[in-house]
């Protein structure tokens, strides 16, 4: 009961955060086509034997930069703290967030040699985005469910969340950032400091 309520709450707060009057609805077939294309591109880059690990990561990063609505995700992840951040902090944050998102995802995907993926059976739709489910298989590993949340952004479908085995990346990250800010005395600056320190590692 409690869990359902919390999910409703998350969806609701997401709606409040992301709704803009001009936002179009996302068609599941279009979203699925977009994920198939982006996924094929990613798999081709990851499995390309002619690329050095660094070149592979760079290729994956550039596909992600094109396919992910980084600003929307970044604002969602900062959640209620976006409003208390100064404009300068918001700018700083988005820059650091993009770098960390791309670095982390490219780092993770870059290690998935031999990966294959297939569109899953169910594709669903919410008010303003679509959920495209895929099954990812790697050699010597168990297959896992990876769902992609796709929303319209400037007339283009873009990825706004990744859900691995039922765990949403942006929700996990929002909770993590909120914790860093709270433990830093409620200051967004504490998060920016931690992000900078990580980027420097």
């Amino acid at each position: 009961m409690l869990l359902l309520n919390r999910r409703d709450f998350a969806v609701l707060s997401l709606g409040l955060l992301c709704t803009s009057p001009s936002q179009a609805q996302m068609d599941t077939a279009r979203a699925a086509g977009f994920i198939q294309a982006a996924g094929d591109e990613l798999v081709a880059a990851i499995n390309n034997p002619g690329l050095s690990p660094a070149a592979r990561q760079e290729r994956v990063a550039s596909i992600l930069r094109r396919s992910v609505d980084i600003e929307t995700v970044g604002r969602f992840v900062l959640g209620r703290f976006w409003r208390i951040a100064t404009p300068a902090e918001q700018q700083d944050y988005l820059r650091l967030f993009e770098a960390s998102l791309i670095r982390n995802l490219a780092g993770r995907f870059g290690e998935y040699q031999g990966v294959r993926f297939a569109l899953g059976r169910t594709q669903s739709r919410t008010e303003d985005d679509a959920l495209v489910s895929t099954v990812v298989t790697r050699p010597n590993s168990n297959p896992f469910n990876l769902d992609w949340r796709v929303a319209e952004s400037g007339g283009q479908p873009k990825i706004v969340d990744l859900i691995a085995e039922g765990t949403s990346l942006r929700l996990t990250q929002r909770s993590e950032y909120a914790s860093v800010i709270q433990r830093g005395g409620g200051q967004v600056a504490a998060l920016l400091t931690a992000m900078r320190a990580q980027a420097a590692r």
Partner: protein, 253 residues
Amino acid sequence: MQRPLPAIYLCAIAALVGLLAGCATPPPASDPEALAEYRATNDPAEPFNRAMFDVHQAIDGAILRPLNGAYRWLPAPVRHSVSSVLNNLRTPVVLLNDMLQGEPVRAGDTLGRFVINTTLGLGGIFDVAESRFGVPVHYEDFGQTLATFGVAEGPFLFLPILGPSNLRDLAGLGVDTAAQPLTWFGQGLAVDLLAGVRGGASMLDTRDYYFDFIDDINRTSLDPYAAMRNARRQARAAAIANRDAVGHQPPSR
């Protein structure tokens, strides 16, 4: 006939003591958003949990991860068979919970898998039920059963070695342990040894399932404790709603 108290109960007692000892201060009512978040996080024992998390991380770094690393030298099919045998041994508990949750189809899957894998699969060494009959394994436990009864999760708990949990799931684990046939299988060195081997293998199997996930969080997270707390809660919600079935799944606790 009674077996000695497993370490898990001692952990539970320690956790309860900890709950009384170190409590987080809730934000003031004047900040409704912070208060809502505090309630959603549901971690009133956070200082205690974080201390336990540090203990866990130290044990994991010094012992569990290196062990897991060594385990990964075994060929994947061997590790797969270990999972499969453990799954087969877990059948009575899963079946009981399938039935308590009023899921006859899933209970049938569990029972059918047990019959097929115990015989054709040579005691579960081969997961014939999945590979030949297309019936993948699924997990249930008493914590999930309680959740379907409408029992709230209770405060979040992080315990060394056991990892992230909550009061409801910890109680569920106690019931599942008591429901295991091995718990009532008489006593003596052989039974204790068997239970020990099984417990160790089970821990390694679970750690192995999360290998990449744990490495990833430790490498990329700005607050691994908060990330694990949230990810565990989401994964648990998916397991309770049975949205977690694609073949091999870990025994989420």
